[in-house]
């Protein structure tokens, strides 16, 4: 019987289980060694069988996202890789502190941008980059939000470089998704591999729902006892591709899953239509984008929204989580300034560094990008989901030439970064257990303080050699284990 890892070779990349390149492929710690020994107890056939069972279970449970084509809709699962990604307690401590620090800075930055604008006046961040940003919301200027919290739920994409250090690739401060997979992946792992996870000492992820609910109650408009605060989750509805997650979170928090048509505004208070009449809502965890929240304030064509919601919000009648206008903080161009933003507000060095970033709206950055295009990753600042990203070393000459023209035409639309040698993790593939690149999206919840869910969503690029982990482009996910000390 062939040992699972006999032919496993992470090459020049940092491996999440076996450490830095050329480290003789020894597990990174005694705990990981124990996990590897257990994995070796399975042969490939057994692993594949359990993997198929896990996929079937995901379909049956409807843990799916919906992909729409012109004619039809298809329910797809996020492919689940059965080999876990393991983080030591020490590694996790760094990520956790780093994420907390970053969110504190982001909230201070947003408060400043929508009030005194000191950060702009002091020249830390260019004024036009913020005020001219499509995600900057002028109507939010001067609006008070409870506790000064703008970003209640944040997902920060972290990657591990070749030297083993963690770096932030992207901030998601609007309506980050994926947390349901973190918890469902764990439950799936426990069901599919009860013999494998026993007595390892993995930190639990099950209390995300109650934690989120608690944080939302903490930011309710004043004047109510905690037990009387009414929270609802606002979803665009069953046709939204993240609908499963909305269901999951509403259920975990024990709150109603509402759509715009279930809500109505009277005298700057929000009410939901129940079978027994109207009932007030104090806090809305909304998974609807800013533009669609309120046709009176934003996109007038929105049918998902609630007319008058923003006016009620401005007057403090309801709390929206996340706040309106947070997109200005997770913009890819503003991202480049985040280390400076952290130093400016907190007078601390960033615990998690950025990936080196060239801002093409600045002459110097553009010059560097144009000179090194074949070596760089070039991203449009306004896109998400991995769309429009050019990976220089893997791109055709024609694609590079096209991007060169786009850069010259509209430099402000792009940033450029060196290719990060994303770490790899052993992954079950048709060819056996092979290294595949991974990233990590830890989720943080902020009310009175910030709590980070231990672990996060590990996304894995299932295609050999690919660095793109997005689910829309062939990515899968793994259970993420944070080990107890």
């Amino acid at each position: 019987m062939q040992k699972l890892f006999e032919n496993y070779d992470p090459g020049r990349f940092f491996c999440e289980l076996f450490g830095p390149p050329r480290s003789n492929r020894r597990p990174v710690s005694a705990q990981v060694a124990k996990i590897v020994r257990r994995l070796n107890g399975f042969n490939l056939g057994a692993l594949r069988r359990r993997s198929r069972e896990a996929d079937q279970e995901l379909y049956n449970l409807g843990i799916t996202f919906t992909v729409y084509t012109e004619q039809t809709s298809v329910d797809r699962i996020l492919p689940f890789d059965v080999l876990p990604r393991v983080l030591s307690a020490q590694d996790w401590a760094v990520i956790e502190r780093g994420v907390r620090q970053r969110i504190e800075a982001i909230n201070l930055f947003l408060h400043d941008v929508y009030h005194d604008r000191k950060v702009l006046k002091d020249g830390v961040v260019p004024e036009d980059l913020v005020l001219g940003n499509p995600h900057y919301c002028p109507q939010m200027a001067g609006v008070k939000v409870p506790g000064g919290v703008y970003v209640h739920v944040c997902g920060i994409d972290v990657v591990r470089d070749r030297d083993g250090s963690f770096k932030v690739l992207e901030d998601n401060a609007r309506t980050p998704s994926g947390v349901s997979y973190v918890i469902e992946n764990r439950h799936l792992m426990l069901r599919t591999f009860p013999d494998f996870v026993a007595n390892v000492g993995i930190r639990s992820v099950s209390d995300y729902g109650p934690r989120l609910h608690q944080a939302l109650v903490q930011v309710a408009p004043g004047g109510k006892r905690d037990a009387d605060v009414s929270v609802a989750l606002l979803s665009p509805g069953i046709y939204n591709s993240a609908y499963f997650e909305h269901v999951f979170l509403a259920r975990e928090m024990g709150v109603p899953l509402v759509e715009g048509r279930d809500l109505t505004i009277e005298k700057d208070r929000v009410y939901m239509k129940t079978a027994a009449g109207l009932e007030p809502v104090d806090v809305i965890y909304r998974r609807v984008d800013d533009a669609f929240l309120d046709p009176q304030a934003f996109n007038p064509n929105s049918v998902l929204g609630v007319p008058g919601l923003f006016a009620a919000y401005k007057k403090g009648g309801v709390t929206l989580a996340n706040a309106v206008g947070t997109g200005v903080a997770d913009d890819k161009a503003v991202y480049a300034y985040m280390p400076r933003i952290i130093r400016y507000y907190l007078d601390q060095d960033p615990i998690l560094e950025n990936v080196e970033t060239y801002i093409c709206r600045e002459a110097e950055g553009l010059a560097h990008a144009l000179a090194h295009l074949p070596e760089l990753v070039v991203k449009p600042v306004g896109e998400s989901g991995g769309y429009g990203v050019l990976i220089g070393p893997q791109a055709s000459a024609a694609a590079i030439a096209k991007r060169r023209e786009e850069l010259k035409q509209n430099p402000a639309n792009y940033i450029a970064q060196p290719v990060v040698d994303l770490s790899v993790c052993p992954t079950l593939t048709p060819g056996g257990v092979e290294p595949r690149h991974v990233d990590l999206r830890p989720f943080a919840v902020t009310g009175n303080g910030t709590w980070v869910l231990p672990g996060g969503l590990t996304r894995v690029a299932l295609t050999k050699g690919s660095l793109v982990v997005n689910s829309s482009q062939g990515g899968g996910s793994k259970d993420t284990w944070v080990l107890e000390d």
Partner: protein, 318 residues
């Protein structure tokens, strides 16, 4: 704090229940028709089902002959037919999908898997040799749903709306059976006491799962008036009109007595009226005149109840 059920969810769970009940009844009716309605020459009567459901025109648009194969296809697989089992299950699943955070995971899981299994059926599965097996599978899928719901659904207002939906749909379906049964009876023979009629009334009772119960109560030969009375006014038969309406009444009253909602009062009043009407009906006289007008009137009254419930509890515009 306690949050009352959203009006939209009250409506969704009411309809989830109705669609599942509808599927179960249709599967049973098809199975019973397939197994128990051969006449002396071995022919089966498939036309009555189409006529009673007022589906003949739509059926003719897509199928030539009225045969077991074509009717089974029309009522089981045909997604373009809004009264088909596949179409009803689609609707049930859509409603369940919007209720996912309220219903139990086990309920959702079963509906999702059951829906997938029925969607995977093709023409070969509704061939004469297989149709009764398929109907049984569908019926049992619905019954598994019922059992899981009974055992796992939290008993707040949503529970009441669910079981109200089951009861109202069941009453509606039984009223259709009475209509079909009578139509088949007068068609099979003008002599309402012939042997052919015995099998015929037996099939009608089986469609409402009342055959053996009826035998326990009436050991004499099957009598048309007694059969119709049994399906209409018996208070112990789960699918009789009176039982269903009585169940819906208790559940509607429970909205106020158990859950403190006063929005169900007008709907309760309409049910009180239906109950009184059913109890006061003279079945023998009904059969002399032909029951169709009575059934029609009853269905209108049930629709009125649903409409009042929608207006007051589902936040529908009047």
């Amino acid at each position: 704090m306690k949050i009352n059920l959203l009006a939209r969810f009250a409506e969704s769970i009411f309809w989830l229940a109705r669609y599942m009940e509808r599927v179960e009844n249709l599967a049973r009716l098809l199975e019973v028709t397939e197994t128990f309605t051969y006449d002396a020459r071995g022919n089966q009567d498939w036309e009555a089902i189409l006529e009673i459901n007022a589906d003949m025109t739509r059926f003719r648009a897509g199928h030539k002959e009225v045969t077991l194969r074509s009717v089974a296809h029309f009522y089981i697989l045909d997604g373009a037919n809004p009264t088909s089992i596949v179409a009803s299950l689609d609707m049930a699943r859509e409603n369940a999908r919007s209720l996912r955070h309220l219903i139990s995971t086990e309920m959702w899981n079963q509906i999702n898997v059951f829906h997938g299994r029925v969607k995977a059926l093709d023409r070969r599965d509704v061939s004469p040799a297989k149709v009764s097996t398929v109907c049984r599978m569908i019926k049992e899928g619905c019954q598994a749903h019922t059992g899981i719901t009974e055992g796992t659904l939290y008993q707040d207002e949503a529970w009441n709306f669910y079981w109200i939906g089951r009861a109202i749909e069941r009453a509606d379906q039984t009223s259709r059976l009475v209509d079909i049964g009578y139509l088949r009876a007068i068609r099979t023979s003008r002599d309402l006491s012939s042997r052919a009629q015995d099998t015929h009334w037996g099939a009608l009772l089986r469609s409402a799962t009342g055959y053996h119960a009826f035998r326990r109560v009436h050991r004499i030969r099957t009598d048309a008036v007694e059969v119709i009375r049994f399906l209409t006014q018996d208070e112990a038969l789960p699918r009789s009109l009176l039982t269903c309406v009585g169940g819906a009444r208790a559940l509607t009253r429970g909205l106020e007595t158990r859950h403190g909602m006063n929005t169900g009062r007008a709907a309760l009043a309409t049910l009180d009226g239906i109950d009184k009407h059913l109890r006061g009906t003279d079945v023998a006289a009904l059969l002399d005149a032909g029951p169709h007008a009575f059934i029609d009137d009853l269905q209108c009254r049930l629709a009125e109840y649903t409409q009042v419930l929608g207006r007051d509890c589902f936040a529908q515009d009047a």
